[in-house]
Amino acid sequence: GGRERTKAAANRDIVSSIMYGGGAFGGYDAGGFGGGGQFGGDQFGGDQFGGGGGFVAGGGDQFGGQAYQQGSQGAAGGFNVDNSGPDGKAKNAKEKQSLLPVTIKQLKNAPSAASGEQNFTVDGHELHQVTIVGLIMTAEEQNTNLQYTIDDGTDDIIVKMWVDQESEELMVQRRAEWREGKVVRVVGQLRMFNNSRSIVAYNIQPLADFNEYTFHFIEAVHSHLRLTKGKPPAAAAAGGAPLAYGGAGAPGGAGGAPPQPALLSVQQQVLEYFKQFGEHSEAGCTIAQCHEAMAASGVSLEQIRNEVNQLVGDGHLYSTIDDDHYKGI
């Protein structure tokens, strides 16, 4: 499109287009942003980091192409980004191929899946391969494996890579690249032994372009929103059952993941509404408008007012011309 968008607007559009199924409140394209500098999967590791462009968003699973081209050290293989179905849940076969970008904190807090002790879920989605990006804090070489502690700013975790078959030449290279102080991308699976969690790595790749470090966290948020989006508000209300508000963490608890992915919390939806639509005027939006927009979710006016008061108290919203009008900070 020909519209100038600041990156801030682009980011907010990603959030809202995912939450509300694109264009539900009118005014924003559900499609991609176009323009220069899309984050293609093959643009990391090279110097093609296009300046000033938007993020490829839209349907929710189009984050920059299908494969991570891993730098110049030879292909680590392509990894498919999770292709979820329209209701937010991955199809069975595709689920097995999925690669979920996550933060270490999410891995540490992931509940066990109903299907087995070595299976975990994030946002109701059973984990297969995960990818993290973080800093190597410690590096240890044992007989048959290399062991690292990696910290991404959210938490740290042990990462193990089995190397008994590696040539000495490759080992020398690895020791040089995978050192304390290096930022790496790890692809692997979450495991638990003796109550402590670790990642068994399939691949460890030092970053060539550190914007990929930033990008990974944006992608993890994107993935989280996509998995927790659930059905559009209208369809959910038609079911008659009260909606589940997840948002803050573990889906369902110890009994296993609930059958539906949880929606964002009411407070998060309210915040998103004011941040997105409050921009259009000096006075922002009213509580009544927010209530109307969220009508299908069955939330009462009083509840919205309560959320707004909390958000004001936390410094996310402020009132404008009167007690009914608010804008995002």
Partner: protein, 133 residues
Amino acid sequence: FFRSLRGSNPTAPRSNHTTMPPTPRVDATDYHSGQHSGRMVRVTGKLLSVEGDRAQLEMSGGGAPAAVVFNDASLAAEFDASLVGSGHFEVIGTLQGDATLQAAQVVNLGTNFDMGMYGEMLSVSKRFPHMFA
């Protein structure tokens, strides 16, 4: 090689549990707010100046720069004068009461690091505390 942050005895058997609290990423507002005083934090910014054992990093969110102090020559070596105005660094360190950051570890993020995107990532991340620190 960088000094391990695991404490003074690097040969001690490492527990599988987290031995160090997570180091949250902070922008200029958090940095100067005083709420992280005495704690380890992670600061990312553009190199503004280098002088002896100190460096200044321009953080996201505007505001006064971070005053990084390093006691370790190997850390200081990363902050080459030629990178002033173009280099970017992530510094993990302890935020002192006087708003200086005692550096424990440094990552050189290169000269094409996008601070704008970083700042937006940081503000988005604050809305998802279950995923970030």
